[in-house]
Symmetry: D2
Subunit: 143 residues, 4 copies
């Protein structure tokens, strides 16, 4: 398991009332919402992705999550992000979700983004600004 | 309270696992999701609204819901729809949500759609096909 | 329209990637999710509501939202809260949603919470701690 | 890739307006919502799981999805389900998501359910009715 220090970027995400399911904890589905929130917010904040008018958009090709501990509204969740593979038109991220003040992850997952042309939806090489933003998250061989 | 017969269109909507909140019933927020699902599905199925490329899009200007009884996954919900006011560029719908096999609504609400130009987001007159689809849902003065 | 100063409590809420709908802005449904998030987080943080084991739970009886301007991921949203009516077992809140750094609301709404016994779901008088937390949000006649 | 015939149970799920994200297709997160909807609806309909008062509840330990093609509101999605491993207190499902009228999956994934005591949240052996319902979905070695 990776602690917070093993990641390159961190975003604090509020939980919401409806994240809790009938069993009183954040539903498994929402964990994936935290994944694509930390990823896209990072890229947009870096001016590396323009989701409204950019020529290249990112689609999820594959994702995975291992659930280790529960999270629950109203706690905040820290979503930690790193890049473990950066290809010509795709990238593989790893994400750790941490309850506030915890250094043991509540979940670990990964997410593959494939970048495509907005109109044709054909695979497109990563524009320079996007590649630079992703490279800044890159770590060596996964610990 | 209006029964099913007081509406002009009905759509059966599955509930989902995560619709249930910590108290074991469909979260209030999801009721509004049923509202915009029955509305937009109707308009798209009538070929009256092209959400991908049409020049006119519908934005929600105001909505309301009165919660009368609980709904819960995995039951199906019937969303019933009628139009009570049809203007130059806007429409006011009323929606009833019914548990399957019930004729007493679990919720009643309304929703105002304002149609605007996709690019400028300025108010736009209703195209003919859209007006016709909406007129088909129109009822007299609300019962 | 009420500015931020007209409310008694403020909570900053991150938007999420999937809050944006096909038209590129936060879906109308999510506004209501911000409503019940600011309300319940406030009550829980005040130790006034125990959503896991408390004998009294809050159900939404009625809600309303007027949409004035768009919000969009990845901006943060400030949800502002006040109480305009406090009854024996129910409360009426008003909520304003503000884009970060804006003092003109993107939306204004209200929400009626009815408190009931967790088991019987019959209306229950507000426990003292809950009443105190709600009274602290109370404003005079709505401006 | 597995076609519909490779699964043992099928549930038709409506898409909703807000399933579509800014790029006009169902957000990756919602695919996982279809997963836990088909699983839990099946178990409840078999009277094998009582999500409100049963002593045993199912928690997601791990999930995965490979996205092969897009889905979009307002189409219906067929969620197909089978069991590939049935243990003492856990089960591994595989799910295929198909656009209506398609026999090539839009997504394939898997989901591990661990059953625990509702109160202690400790792993619990599968009750007989639950085991029978799961066994009915079992296939041989995954094709």
């Amino acid at each position: 398991m990776s602690s917070r220090a093993a990641y390159k970027h961190l975003m604090r995400i509020n939980t919401r009332w409806k994240d809790n399911d009938i069993y009183g904890h954040v539903n498994n589905v929402e964990y994936y919402s935290y994944f694509d929130t930390v990823i896209n917010a990072y890229l947009i904040d870096c001016d590396a992705l323009d989701i409204h008018t950019g020529t290249v958009i990112g689609l999820c090709a594959e994702s995975h999550c291992k659930f280790l501990d529960s999270l629950a509204f109203p706690m905040a969740v820290d979503a930690a992000l790193r890049v473990v593979h950066l290809g010509r038109s795709s990238v593989r991220y790893e994400i750790g979700l941490f309850a506030e003040d915890e250094d043991t992850p509540a979940a670990q997952g990964w997410f593959v983004h494939v970048f495509v042309d907005r109109v044709t939806r054909k695979s497109a090489p990563l524009p320079d600004a996007l590649r630079a933003a992703l490279a800044a998250l890159q770590v060596g061989p996964t610990p």
